[in-house]
């Protein structure tokens, strides 16, 4: 019996702590669902919308923490990183997790901005973690492009505050005060402010054409961090956009934001379709797929109606869990083959059966094949789109999804099957490395068949918040 030491022990403690957070956020969810929003000194405000994102974050965080154990232990064993750096990793991991939680619980829209900027600053170190040319270049682009975006978002926030204080008589930046005064705000200022918000936070969310940092950062970060960036970090920016959307929806109706969402959603889908087809690098492939899914979510927000919004929020969760499985699997593959070039990687299923199968299941789940959960959220959005009379837009949406389905399944199929290189030993994987996959797979499969009442109740309450009820 070998003793568990160093980075492995740290990893296990970290994973247990995040499991506890997972349980805590479930309890919080049921509390909010039963007895309404939780507020604390006007600074923290947690309603169904926040809880929904908290739940998503905690689930992906736990999975990433569990996956990190083996990943970091292997890096330290191979000497890629030193023991001291492994400790730094867990420190940054938790700081990053903390900033993301913070985004979802603050009431003050200015503090929301600060929290989102903090997520960038912390995660930049995780993107540049390996300290080589590629990762530092990616980290620099990430921090610079996102900081510019977020500066524009701050301008948008200030314009919101301008009309809120001039026309609404609001003296704080609290979301709860703004929403109460929403009806009295100046529509002209709001429209311009919302553009800044959408472009600003949209940069962070990876909405095309502001997505250019995303493929670099996601492909260079460590695999568990890629999962966090893609799965939940982008969603925190979506969360911020949703908060502002609910304010302007009350004041000027939904058609203004809907049109913008549909336009940017389709643009993101189109851009990612083009890049997914020609992609050679497996992690970049997954990164562009994130642009696609952010496009799906934005389109869903724009397609509107209760069903479209339900689909969009449901998709936030589905994409988070599914994309994490894919990044974990890709992380295993890259570690084993020492390359992320899909022209070189062959025979993943025979070289590492568990990862190979996860990769295949993940690819189908991610691209929206039944019976996995992504299929259902995409179908909801599509039905809503057609139902609202957006025939051309919905047809385009369907066409892009179909193209991406073909491209991703083709790419992943090529690397999963085929003949593995002779010098690569086929080896089983330890159970500890499988926990994260199985944990997430449960959500992907179960939610495809049955939505627990708590879960749909949570989304429905969140929808009421978005629609300004």
């Amino acid at each position: 019996m070998q003793t568990i030491t160093g980075s492995r022990a740290l990893g296990i403690i970290n994973a247990l702590a995040h499991f506890a957070l997972c349980v805590a956020s479930c309890l919080l969810a049921s509390h909010v669902l039963i007895s309404g929003p939780v507020a604390f000194r006007n600074f923290f405000y947690i309603d169904a919308l926040s809880v929904f994102f908290i739940l998503t974050i905690s689930i992906v965080n736990f999975a990433a923490a569990a996956y990190s154990i083996g990943y970091i232990a292997k890096d330290t064993a191979e000497g890629t990183i030193k023991e001291r750096k492994a400790k730094a990793y867990y420190g940054l991991f938790n700081l990053f997790a903390f900033t993301m939680y913070f985004v979802t619980v603050v009431n003050n829209l200015g503090m929301l901005w600060v929290a989102i900027e903090m997520t960038t600053l912390v995660s930049a170190f995780l993107v540049g973690f390996y300290n080589n040319k590629k990762s530092i270049e990616a980290a620099w682009k990430y921090i610079i492009i996102c900081s510019v975006g977020i500066t524009l978002a701050l301008l948008g926030t200030i314009l919101f505050y301008y009309t809120a204080s001039r026309d609404g008589g609001v003296t704080s930046l609290n979301w709860t005060d703004m929403i109460a005064a929403a009806g009295r705000l100046d529509p002209k200022v709001l429209k311009i402010a919302f553009l800044f918000i959408l472009v600003g936070y949209g940069t962070k969310a990876g909405i095309a054409p502001m997505h250019t940092w995303l493929p670099d950062a996601h492909s260079q970060a460590l695999a568990p961090i890629s999962a966090l960036l893609s799965g939940v970090l982008l969603k925190t920016a979506i969360y911020a956009i949703i908060r502002f959307t609910s304010i302007i929806n009350i004041c000027i109706g939904t058609s203004y934001s809907d049109n913008l969402f549909i336009f940017f959603g389709l643009l993101s889908l189109g851009v990612s379709a083009a890049f997914v087809i020609v992609q050679k690098d497996i992690k970049r492939l997954l990164a562009y797929s994130s642009v696609e899914h952010i496009g799906v979510i934005t389109f869903g927000l724009g397609a509107g109606g209760a069903l479209g919004l339900f689909g969009a929020l449901f998709h936030v969760f589905n994409h988070a869990v599914t994309k994490s499985v894919m990044f974990f699997a890709a992380g295993n593959v890259v570690k084993k083959y020492k390359t992320s070039d899909m022209h070189v990687i062959r025979g993943v299923i025979s070289a590492m059966p568990f990862t190979g199968i996860m990769l295949m299941i993940g690819a189908f789940a991610l691209t929206g094949s039944p019976p996995f959960s992504v299929f259902f959220s995409e179908i909801m959005i599509l039905i809503s789109g057609f139902g609202q009379g957006l025939y051309l837009q919905s047809a385009l949406f369907l066409a892009f999804i179909a193209v991406i389905f073909g491209a991703v399944v083709y790419h992943i199929g090529t690397i999963a099957f085929g003949k593995k290189p002779d010098d690569l030993p086929a080896a089983g994987e330890p159970l500890s490395g499988k926990i994260a996959f199985i944990f997430l797979l449960v959500f992907i499969c179960v939610l495809g068949f049955k939505l627990p009442a708590v879960f749909s109740g949570l989304i429905n309450s969140a929808i009421e918040i978005i629609r300004g009820a």
């Binding site: 503090m111 980290a139 682009k141 921090i143 500066t151 200022v189 493929p215 992609q279």
Partner: protein, 206 residues
């Protein structure tokens, strides 16, 4: 009256920075611009006689007039960077572009609120963005970001009488942290690539 003089100074310094050819000139430009911003805030704080505004003004002075320029200078000195800014657009064209940006800001702010301070703040936000895009040194991108941020800060001060106090403080802290972290990355870029020319960072494609 006094405020308008300081606003004019802020705008002029933005133009000077656009025309700068050397890294040190850019940093000096930023420092003087921050000083004008500080004076302006001081006048506002004095006329409103508000302790909170005085604190914000003092923080502005400490971070943007003293600490950040000193830090940027030290980075430049330590990495012995080539002083040339690497202009992808020459100064004459850059000035012309900055004038166009300022006009756009003027036309745009006229639609929302015709306040001179708002016009200046939006102008320098756009000019900061211009510096970030068209100057190829990593340091210049940091300065561009700071100019943008100053612009947004001035917007807040001019149209909505500043943000709530706690938010203002948090944003200062955040910006300061961002500059430190960007500085760290400049060191890292320099030690890996032996230069800090952003246009030559081309490892990642597609």
């Amino acid at each position: 009256m006094l405020i308008n003089i300081f606003l004019f100074g802020i705008l002029i310094m933005a133009f000077m920075m656009v025309a700068a050819k050397r890294v040190s000139a850019l940093i000096d430009g930023f420092r003087i611009q921050s000083f004008f911003l500080f004076m302006l805030m001081f006048v506002l704080a004095y006329s409103a006689d508000s302790t909170e505004l005085y604190i914000v003004t003092a923080l502005l002075f400490v971070t943007k007039v003293i600490l950040i320029p000193v830090m940027l200078r030290r980075v430049v000195k330590r990495i012995k960077v080539n002083e040339d800014l690497g202009l992808s657009v020459n100064p004459t064209v850059s000035i012309f572009a900055a004038i166009v940006l300022a006009y756009l800001a003027y036309a745009f702010t006229g639609m929302i609120a015709g306040i001179p301070a708002f016009f200046v703040s939006l102008s320098i936000t756009l000019i900061g963005l211009f510096i970030m895009i068209f100057r190829m040194k990593a340091i210049a991108q940091i300065v561009g970001l700071l100019v943008m941020e100053s612009g947004v800060f001035l917007t807040a001060a001019s149209i909505s009488g500043g943000m709530p106090f706690i938010v203002e403080i948090a944003i200062f802290f955040d910006v300061f942290l961002a500059v430190i972290i960007l500085g760290i990355f400049v060191y890292k870029i320099n030690s890996l690539f032996t230069h800090i020319d952003i246009d030559k960072l081309t490892e990642l494609k597609g």
